[in-house]
Symmetry: C2
Subunit: 335 residues, 2 copies
Amino acid sequence: MSDNKKILLSHGGGGEEMQSLIGGLFFKHFGNEILDKMEDSATLDVKGKIAFTTDSFTVTPLFFNGGDIGKIAIAGTVNDLVSAGARPLYISCGFIIEEGFLYKDLEQIVLSMKAELEKSGAKIVAGDTKVVPKGKADGIFINTSGIGEIICGDISSHNLNEGDAIIISNEVGNHGACILANREELRVSGDLKSDCASLFAPVSALFENGIKPKALRDATRGGLSAVLNEWALASNVGIEVNESDILVSNEVRGLCEIFGFEPYELANEGTMAICVKQEDAEKALEILREFDECKKANIIGKVLNSYKQRVILKSPWGTSRFLEPPKGELLPRIC
Amino acid sequence: MSDNKKILLSHGGGGEEMQSLIGGLFFKHFGNEILDKMEDSATLDVKGKIAFTTDSFTVTPLFFNGGDIGKIAIAGTVNDLVSAGARPLYISCGFIIEEGFLYKDLEQIVLSMKAELEKSGAKIVAGDTKVVPKGKADGIFINTSGIGEIICGDISSHNLNEGDAIIISNEVGNHGACILANREELRVSGDLKSDCASLFAPVSALFENGIKPKALRDATRGGLSAVLNEWALASNVGIEVNESDILVSNEVRGLCEIFGFEPYELANEGTMAICVKQEDAEKALEILREFDECKKANIIGKVLNSYKQRVILKSPWGTSRFLEPPKGELLPRIC
């Protein structure tokens, strides 16, 4: 196949060309007994409570250090399901492709999705492809919606109580900083790698070891700061975190200084904020750190009964300030 | 609120502005006990077999005679679920909005979605909003994914047998022709109205009256021709349809003559192809015609044991030709 084969409007028209794209690319790599039935809706057997989530991905650049739009589309939806205490089972995939998009880039994206699906065992069971004329979209946008079977119930941002521990599963800010550096073509970009990863394995290891998180949240847009503020608001509590316990790489810190970003507001794509009972915190940390994507997990703070609906950031020098909810023009199109 | 208030990049950034858009518009109109929990995933109780489907909508113009992108996004996903014999229950909604899009247009779209949801009782339970810089998308794209409870099982394009009747629930080609006319700003456009409609009511009336369709399909992209060809292929049968029984309005016929389109290939957005046992055909027709959106329903042909995998179109003059699967550049962005 020629390297400059392009996606045409006819690939989204509902006719023979679309069938050939679907068969030759999507079914070839995503194929499974449900998808292969090629009905407009997948028929699924589910039991009990399920989690259901959706995300559209518009990240630019499409390919970045540590991932691409395909990997992030799967990891993002998997992590949303995991945040609800669910085992990711079924994912739908809607492509909006700009006319002229390179077939080989689409194939690379599809292969990334396939590889990422294998990490949680989720399957693509429904799809849709639209092609819009050149200039009417920016390369490719992907929507993934997912269904998971809830295996650990009652995880919610409303559950925080005084004394609970707050854990973050990784350094923060890597994804946002990586995208920013890639976009600005900074020399530092080579040292920055997105944390983009599916977190079903480490989080389900918590469940299997009898740890029931009270709240779980993928710290994507708005970063750690958005999650903690949402939790403080939803549970009507204060949250106190220690700056020295929140790991930020030197590269991310440097980039934040140059551009005036707050690392706690930068997006992550494979980093989970986890609230557990204080007595579970050390054990949770030990379990998480056994996984590559969580080996920098750390306890960063605790829930207070004071400073309600606020997040307090304590510096190593004993001072403290409010960590405000992010606002204004954050870095756009990071996911 | 000012009439020219616009959507800004910050409305998709994950910060305060996004929360205000979500609260002030989406939750205001879509709110329900599940969505109001504001978790990243909705937690749902489902029983038995479910149908799951996804569709992205990129229609242009966004507002057309008979509907808009919001109405079509709900009706399209509802109809995909109905095609699987399901009662639509839960819908997710992912918006990709171009910076500078008018708030009042977004509100109108949201209100259309709300009105259309009421026709089937489905609820929006999960959402996502992305804003991309001006010029990186075309106004607004919407993805809707849906979950339905299967209330009439084993509906499939693989089920057709010799002698079965083929019904179409309406005139064909109205949506595609309406979009074409609106886009070309033709004078005829006022007489053309999209068939865009949710078909849960008429189809569930079939189920309730003991009629179990063998196959059901919303004749969207690729039109009636695409559906019949897919069925003929999937069931390894021939399908014979009578040109004089397939209703096409004079306006649609005229437009097709001007532009060289085949009315059977034009998209419909509220028109279902239905295959039933021959003995159920008349009763099915009677039931369907009780509903406004199906009052022009007609039996258009039958399944053959010859001409396998082909569709035969018989003219009123006794001649016949193959109705080929659509190919090439069909009308883009009709849904």
